[in-house]
């Protein structure tokens, strides 16, 4: 089959690779119809992830049609249209049963790598380095989906592929941020980053009853899009002192909940092998601002995918202001079915985020558009079914 793979030196290339196989009783094989780029891929492309290897298949946000199931799969049949959660969770361990599938104990094929990096094994995800326990990604014609009963969700007929695609990662990530932040009616929420995740965080906060949602991004077209689709107020940080602006808009209190949906600042320079393994510190300017802006006793939610350590984190403010800092990698369990219902009722529209649609063969161009935010790109969506221009 064809698949978009990471190649050394931060390049991507479409290659012919073996079709995936059923390896466990709980597996399903999905024929991919659409897959999306995500900001979480950019550190990988830049070579910041130490375990990424030449040939690893990228892409963690995808949907498609079930073409094979293992004997232990009971919720899905061949022919089902499914969207697949980006993080792999078993649904059976204490973490999963306690409502925290993003902390699953059994969703990783090489737990030693994350144990070393984070102190404990964390679940693997599609499109992440296989040497660090990740799984072959969705920028391909077919994908193996482990624990398919837990991670794959049937799509209601009323929901288009283009809308359902974002139920794989961006929409549940935004919803999780709003939930972890404790958004309630009357809350004031500030969101750093008006990419897909930031906009869907803003929309989730509105749906949960937030009184005001303020979203910040230096990209004018993204702010315009956020105003049109999320009910949020927008702020352009290039022309505004963000901390002063947020104080002014919140009666001097600061937002109740501050969500960072930007990720690390990256200078665009590919990292050397040494830097990848020694964990050169990243810069988290949005997290710093969020901590300073948040009201006393408020909550800061960190959604950005930092791969290791950060410098200049304002720990003093966390203690002095009594802040709650939450982080999470979304897993759709518990969220995706509800989100798909909201999509079916037209409460949650996401298809507008797919600004560019390309064949897999144009993977390099699609990621370049996305990385550089050129041509109004918010998300590039790949379709293996689209004919290549070549």
């Amino acid at each position: 089959m064809r698949a978009l793979c990471w190649a050394n030196a931060g390049q991507v290339a479409v290659r012919q690779v073996p079709d995936p196989e059923l390896r466990n009783g709980h597996d399903a094989i999905v024929r991919v119809r659409l897959s999306a780029t995500c900001g979480g891929d950019l550190p990988l492309l830049a070579g910041l992830a130490p375990h990424l290897a030449d040939g690893d298949i990228l892409g963690h946000e995808f949907l498609g049609e079930v073409v094979a199931v293992g004997p232990q799969v009971s919720r899905h049949r061949v022919g089902d249209r499914v969207v697949v959660s980006s993080t792999v969770a078993c649904g059976s361990c204490w973490q999963c049963r306690s409502g925290a599938p993003w902390c699953c104990d059994n969703g990783n094929l090489a737990p030693e790598a994350s144990e070393l990096a984070y102190g404990h094994p964390v679940p693997g995800a599609f499109g992440r380095p296989t040497a660090a326990g990740g799984f072959a990604g969705g920028h391909a014609e077919y994908v193996r989906v482990p624990y398919a009963d837990v991670g794959a969700y049937g799509i209601p007929d009323a929901v288009s592929d283009e809308r359902a695609l974002f139920a794989a990662d961006a929409a549940p990530a935004g919803w999780l941020a709003a939930e972890l932040g404790g958004v309630q009616p009357g809350a004031v929420v500030a969101v750093w980053g008006a990419g897909a995740v930031g906009q869907l965080t803003a929309r989730a906060a509105s749906l949960l009853g937030a009184d005001r949602v303020i979203i910040m991004d230096p990209q004018v077209d993204r702010l315009r899009m956020a105003r049109r689709h999320t009910d949020a107020e927008t702020v352009d940080p290039r022309h505004t002192d963000i901390l002063a602006e947020l104080r002014e808009r919140t009666g001097g209190r600061g937002p109740d909940i501050c969500v960072e949906a930007v990720g690390p600042a990256w200078d665009g320079r590919p990292r050397s092998l040494t830097e990848r393994f020694t964990g050169a510190a990243e810069r988290p300017p949005a997290v710093r601002e969020a901590v300073h802006a948040c009201r006393k006793g408020g909550t800061v939610v960190v959604l950005g995918e930092f791969t290791g350590h950060v410098d200049a984190f304002p720990l003093g403010a966390v203690g002095a202001k009594g802040l709650r800092v939450r982080g999470a990698r979304q897993h759709g369990a518990g969220q995706v079915p509800t989100l798909l219902e909201r999509m079916a009722r037209d409460e949650l529209r996401t298809e507008y985020l797919a600004t560019h649609r390309l064949p897999l063969e144009e993977g390099a161009r699609g990621y370049a558009l996305f990385r550089d935010r050129r041509d109004g790109c918010v998300r590039t969506v790949f379709s293996p079914e689209l004919p290549s221009a070549e």
Partner: protein
């Protein structure tokens, strides 16, 4: 017998023909979200640990707050793991024990051990 131990916060020795020394460090432990009688059905070690034979000691005890069972293993002092000689430059014995514990946990919780994709070399030319 194991059912009687539920709720007791004390170490229980699994069925093992050799006397087990009191823990003195070097134990690798996982928490399995199942009761002790499912982790050690009939008092028998789970298959991934049985493979290591008498080279390891195994203990279980109930985990606090309804979290199941804490399953511990360590290499018996002065012994060699079966097949380890084949791993001349390979797995550290502690890693072998930890991997066996993780597999035992997965087996008890999900019914199977998660398997990696086969490598292209194992599978031959791409289709």
């Amino acid at each position: 017998m194991l059912a009687r131990l539920a709720g007791a916060r004390r170490r229980v020795r699994a069925v093992d023909p050799r006397p087990t020394a009191q823990p003195a460090g070097g134990w690798a432990v996982v928490t399995v979200d199942r009761p002790p009688n499912e982790v050690l059905p009939g008092g028998r070690w789970p298959e991934p640990l049985r493979r290591l034979g008498r080279a390891v000691q195994v203990d279980v005890w109930p985990a606090p707050a309804d979290r199941g069972t804490e399953l511990a293993a360590r290499i018996r002092p002065g012994t060699t793991l079966p097949g380890l000689a084949a791993h001349v430059a390979g797995d550290h014995p502690d890693r072998v024990v930890r991997a066996a514990l993780r597999q035992a946990k997965q087996l008890a919780e999900t019914g199977e051990v998660l398997r990696a994709d086969r490598s292209p070399i194992d599978r031959g030319p791409a289709g």
